[in-house]
Symmetry: C2
Subunit: 490 residues, 2 copies
């Protein structure tokens, strides 16, 4: 826009604002005639063209009406604005939320203020940016951007066929999982997969079975859907399946129980599937970190044993590439493909095209699996460093579980009683150590099922060996302080 | 992995599969001892190490148990598999869907099979890939990928603070909309914004007011939430607001009514806001294409008039950059920031990081607004070409509405009766012309509110002038055929 045009536009806008203010204040009422364009142009010392443009704008916005040959007038039905409402209107707003909205109220929203810089932060879910395949991803993304198609249009709600085909191959090679591309639904991370399952399979008052302890956001999704969550005890072989209650849904992490790390045994897998067939329940198999097994080959998924179309398999690249990409995938029984496609379409049309194509390219070229092998080695080293440091520094003072797989372990602090868990966590943060208590992962009121010691979920995938070792030293110091103060307090 | 290792892994897998098959078929029962590693190694002609690896795998998967000094045995509790179920189990599955899932069943899932190559496809929502700012986007994306942060972690569910701040500035400059960054929620396209609104604000049996005709996917979202949709007649000034029923929610497109193109008049804006204050309803203002106005300056949003925290503003880059990016934004009243943040977190944690940062970069550098001006000019040219072709080729045979703004018009075919709309659409596709009937945008059973002629929603943003002109010619031919056959049929 030339600068003359810009200046005219500003004047036009000022005329519009002035007239709107006069209408709002009641100085100009409905049906009142506006000044003629000639008169207003003279009054403001501007051209009639500018005034005409302003009036046309006001007509388009409905403030002003005009008839052939007559002067422009304030639109009938337009009066002065009612007084501005007080703020009390908005404070009562949560009372107008849906039942879903009201159920969310009890869930804490984690602070996103940037954390104080910690010496070591064992937050589970974080990855080291140094592990991200920057060059390969950049190359894939650039290729996708430059490879223009003639038109940009909404894609299949289930995701790009190219990515779904690539995932089909990957899941067969890496997990022994057989499926057709139409069973694959690309989602924005496993969280969306869980949410879609809850929406499609749970009505208010339905029951969902979950491991206890288990994944907090899964529990929240089920509770937000209005379901009752039935917690089921977990031991070294995963969730106990000998007395599952009737339910619409079970959520399990069979390859690596979150957070305790057990592998669901073959007997229990069978029992779980038999229960699902008998009761008509669906089973969500969250295979969130199966890429990381350190001493033995990956365990075939529950989905591969399911002949009855009860299992919904859920995978993600949040543990192999980045949690910020927001890419995951469901493998659903064929009978559920269409409902999931429709739900995904209403939820957000489809997953972003760029990331989908880039991931497909990485999988097709073999770069993804090479990358997985590389980060598996790096995380094996981190795990070794962590286990060695815990053993050397803390010895029998801790019991470490879930070490065979994944990107975290649970550390029970044998010398620190359970009621000191929060105190220890706070003191650790003050000392520069990010540690995260295990208690929030237990269903409320299920305290009897767990060790009497404080426990921590310790993620190590974002740290180098040096920080890990330093972190364990700080942990030992903090444990010592808490223990001594505890003794004094008796 | 060395090829020796790979070969060993294959043999290990074969041993595992064989033993699992024996267990599944009942040849090996619970408690049965496996062959000794020595015996099996001899039998298969392989090393004991390989057999041991296979047994360890079976132990990890729970098929096999072992005790100190004793031979490995089949896990107790493991028996032969129950027979494979028949397919009938899955065909009854939709009966197990939630009420939400069952409500989806009636919505059609558009075919995603690649359309036959058409001479001209007037599908609304498609953009020309030639308009995408490929180089600027590539530069922004590459910059984001290379600018590593030390760790990759989940972001704020409301979106990147940088993008929200950039959007705050953009919305003020481009739309006169004032908000704080904490009122901005970045979503995966406006569809997710609609879905979050429905989930947070609608309970089953609640009422949602919608323009009639109106946006199909909004109607489906409200129906899927279990709400009653109350259609309200639209005329040249947008939705009629003189007799709105009580409702929890109103969905409107005030800048450019979809699909008919009217601008909600100032009086109606006031009336709508007064209704919302009086009834406690929220108003979703879908500002889906306000970047495209051709003769006058953009009209300030409803949100700017709202002093009572009733308006939820919804924007998208699907019409300026690409529908495949899946980026949009809500501006919510402050009292709703927290519920929306929690709902977005449960829905999918947050929008993808890469696109958010790239868009922030484009807005901050001014490249986004330069791009918007450029595509506005290009689409103005397309619109001119379309209007000129319609006028020259069809003249009084058509009435074109909604020409002042947006990326589509509605064309009423005066010579073709309404009941021939589908017939005409099918014939047009057969002749290489993609046209889309207006009838599906009307609420079922609201036929009296519309012209008696067939109508088409004609999007032109993906086409060059030549295709537009050719498309109008084909339309004229098809109209002629339909009209003549109609006369013959009398």
């Amino acid at each position: 826009m030339a600068s003359d045009d810009a200046a005219q536009a500003r004047v036009t806008q000022r005329i519009c604002d002035t007239i709107k203010t006069r209408i709002a204040s009641g100085l100009l009422g409905p049906g009142d005639k506006l000044p003629s364009t000639r008169a207003l142009a003279a009054e403001w010392g501007i051209s009639r063209t500018t005034v005409t443009a302003a009036y046309e704008q006001l007509i388009a916005e409905g403030y002003v009406e005009t008839r052939q040959g007559a002067r422009a007038q304030v639109a009938r039905g337009l009066g002065p604005s009612s007084p501005q409402p007080t703020r009390s209107a908005s404070t009562t707003m949560t009372g107008q939320l849906s039942a879903f909205g009201r159920r969310l109220a009890e869930f804490p929203l984690p602070s996103v203020a940037s954390a104080p810089s910690l010496v070591a932060d064992f937050r589970y879910g974080d990855l080291s940016a140094a592990d991200f395949p920057t060059l390969a991803w950049r190359k894939a993304v650039t290729g996708v951007i430059l490879r223009r198609q003639p038109r940009l249009r909404y894609d299949d709600p289930c995701g790009s066929l190219r990515l779904r085909t690539a995932l089909q191959g990957y899941l067969w090679r890496a997990r022994g999982l057989r499926c057709e591309p139409e069973q694959v639904i690309v989602v924005n991370g496993s969280q969306q997969g869980l949410d879609l399952c809850a929406r499609l399979l749970l009505d208010p008052e339905d029951r969902a079975v979950m491991e206890n302890p288990g994944y907090t956001l899964a529990r929240q999704v089920f509770l937000a859907a209005g379901a009752q969550v039935a917690p089921v005890t977990v031991d070294g072989e995963g969730m106990r399946t000998d007395s599952l209650p009737d339910a619409s849904l079970a959520y399990v992490t069979p390859s690596h129980q979150f957070p305790l790390g057990g592998v669901l045994s073959a007997g229990r897998r069978r029992e779980l599937l038999a229960w699902a067939r008998r009761t008509g329940a669906h089973v969500i198999e969250d295979d969130y970190d199966s890429e990381y097994r350190f001493d033995i080959a990956p365990i075939p998924p529950l989905q591969a044993l399911d002949g009855a179309g009860r299992v919904i398999y859920l995978g993600t690249v949040s543990k192999t590439l980045s949690p910020t990409l927001r890419l995951g995938y469901l493998v659903v029984p064929k009978a559920l493909s269409e409902p999931f496609a429709k739900a995904k379409r209403l939820a957000d049309r489809h997953a972003p095209g760029l990331e989908q194509e880039a991931l497909a390219e990485l999988i097709e070229s073999g770069a993804y699996e090479r990358h997985v092998r590389r980060v598996r080695r790096r995380n094996a080293e981190r795990r070794m460093a962590l286990l060695a440091a815990l053993s050397a520094t803390l010895g029998d003072a801790v019991t470490v579980v879930g070490v065979e797989a994944g990107l975290h372990v649970v550390v029970w602090l044998n010398s620190v009683p359970r009621h000191q868990e929060e105190n220890l966590t706070v003191r650790a943060h003050a000392a520069g150590l990010g540690v995260y208590p295990v208690t929030p992962l237990y269903a409320p009121g299920s305290a009897a099922d767990r060790p009497d010691a404080a426990g921590l979920v310790v993620g190590y995938a974002s740290l180098d060996a040096r920080s890990i070792i330093r972190g364990v030293q700080i942990l030992a110091e903090v444990m010592d302080t808490v223990r001594r103060r505890g003794e004094v307090g008796r």
